[in-house]
Symmetry: C2
Subunit: 252 residues, 2 copies
DNA sequence: CGCTGAATTGACTACCCTCAACATGAGTGG
DNA sequence: CCACTCATGTTGAGGGTAGTCAATTCAGCG
């Protein structure tokens, strides 16, 4: 327990997640990531199977659809998008994954990834070989449960997206996405009001089933209403309640 | 093992899945349901934890959102829909579940169901207490994997729905739903061409993000094009390829 | 400096929603 | 047996939201 006042702390020891010496025990994200509420010993065992490689640059693939499934991946820093390719050859963004979140569980069903995952910015990733995770889950009941819960959470979140796409107006879709990112930021003790969007307008539109023109128009409209401030990828939510009202349908 | 050649077999012993003596070993669905590819002994152990209760009547709830999570459920006969209630109070159908499929995994994330599940017609259900399933999964590695895969499949299927809602026209949405039901029927060795829709137009529209008027119009339009025949809930697909083309975008 | 890709803004269009009338069938009670 | 209601589904007319097409701006970069 000597992590209090160590003699020399370089900035990257605190902030740069690319450091190979990072492990689950000292990771800032261990309260929201896979290790959540595991015992210390079990965290070490989990840490033992995790592989950390050099960071992904923007645009690089973490894996591709139809690659054989080996691992799930925890985002340590940066951000990625998951995209699936339709029969028609069109890309569909199926989700964005931020630090502390786990991606790759789509591959388990048929031992083949159904999505490709692409870095939206320079991103450090923890690779978790799934066969090892399975073995460990047999030995650590609470880990098994964590994995179940992780997948269940993915299911419920996707159901929320389905609801959004099925019922929500363009404004509601954008508002929901902003609130989602805001909430996920505050989980990491970042500002819920101000943040940088890691993804392009194209990605947002693709994910939400809107054209980029519509995305752009909605952003300016929300800004003119005084609900948010937009400057490129910088977002500042100035009226959180108004934004929430939009997601619930303006006539609520 | 005296379940071979019993002296009297009434019709419902063969067809009526409500019979309490049904078990996983003799269930017609055991090649597509949870027991898939388990060893015989393990199937018996799985069967040992499954509870079968009297069938649900149309409109009855299997469970309700915010009920505490105890079990997942395999549909043995009939059909159910899962619906979530938005903040606004509106229902959103998040999925339909047919025989051999498992519902309830949304509840695991927070130990509370996020959806309500309602019978679309008289349905027999196998209840699988999740704590028992967890224990058993620790002992039977292939079962653990099955449960992981089951949840993964739910994830990938929902991603397909997201793609559909994000990109698909009203026609494409209806076509995809019909093809999905067709494929799931043929997995159960039922006709892929002719079947009964278990759900109402309202449910279809709700699920697909369309009004019931649009659903109705699309059905008649597809019928006039000679692609399907519709009579109430009876569907006959007469041109499977044309239907597939619609899902891929008509300009493919 | 011009090039490229991303984003913004405008004008027009189309698809689907809204509102409304009508049809059909099941269940109920006279 | 028929009239009644109610739920469900079909069809039509008109309007609104978001898509399409196009021009412009801007930042990054060789």
């Amino acid at each position: 327990m000597n992590n209090m006042s160590p003699p020399f702390i370089r900035i990257q020891d605190q902030h740069c997640a690319h450091d190979k010496r990072v492990n689950c025990s000292n990771c800032r994200l261990n309260t929201i990531c896979l290790p959540i509420s595991l015992h210390i010993d079990d965290i070490d065992r989990l840490n033992g199977i995790i592989q950390r490689s050099k960071p992904l640059q923007k645009g690089e693939y973490l894996y591709r659809a139809s690659d054989s499934f080996d691992s799930v991946f925890a985002i340590r820093s940066g951000a990625v998008k998951a995209v699936s390719i339709s029969d028609k050859g069109e890309e569909q963004v199926t989700g964005f994954y931020l630090p502390g979140e786990v991606v790759g569980m789509d591959g388990l069903a048929d031992d083949t990834y159904t999505n490709s995952v692409i870095a939206l910015e320079t991103s450090s990733i923890c690779e978790i070989p799934f066969s090892r995770l399975e073995e460990l889950s047999l030995q650590i009941p609470s880990l098994q449960r964590h994995v179940f819960q992780l997948m269940s959470r993915e299911i419920t979140q996707e159901q929320q997206v389905i609801t959004l796409l099925s019922k929500g107006s363009a404004e509601a879709r954008i508002a929901s996405l902003l609130l989602s990112i805001s909430a996920r930021n505050s989980r990491r003790n970042l500002s819920a009001q101000e943040f940088l969007l890691p993804m392009s307008r194209t990605d947002i539109g693709n994910f939400l089933g809107l054209t980029i023109e519509t995305v752009s128009r909605i952003f300016t409209r929300l800004q003119k209403s005084g609900i948010i401030k937009v400057d490129k990828k910088e977002i500042a939510i100035t009226d959180m309640d108004a934004l929430r009202n939009i997601t619930n349908g303006s006539d609520a």
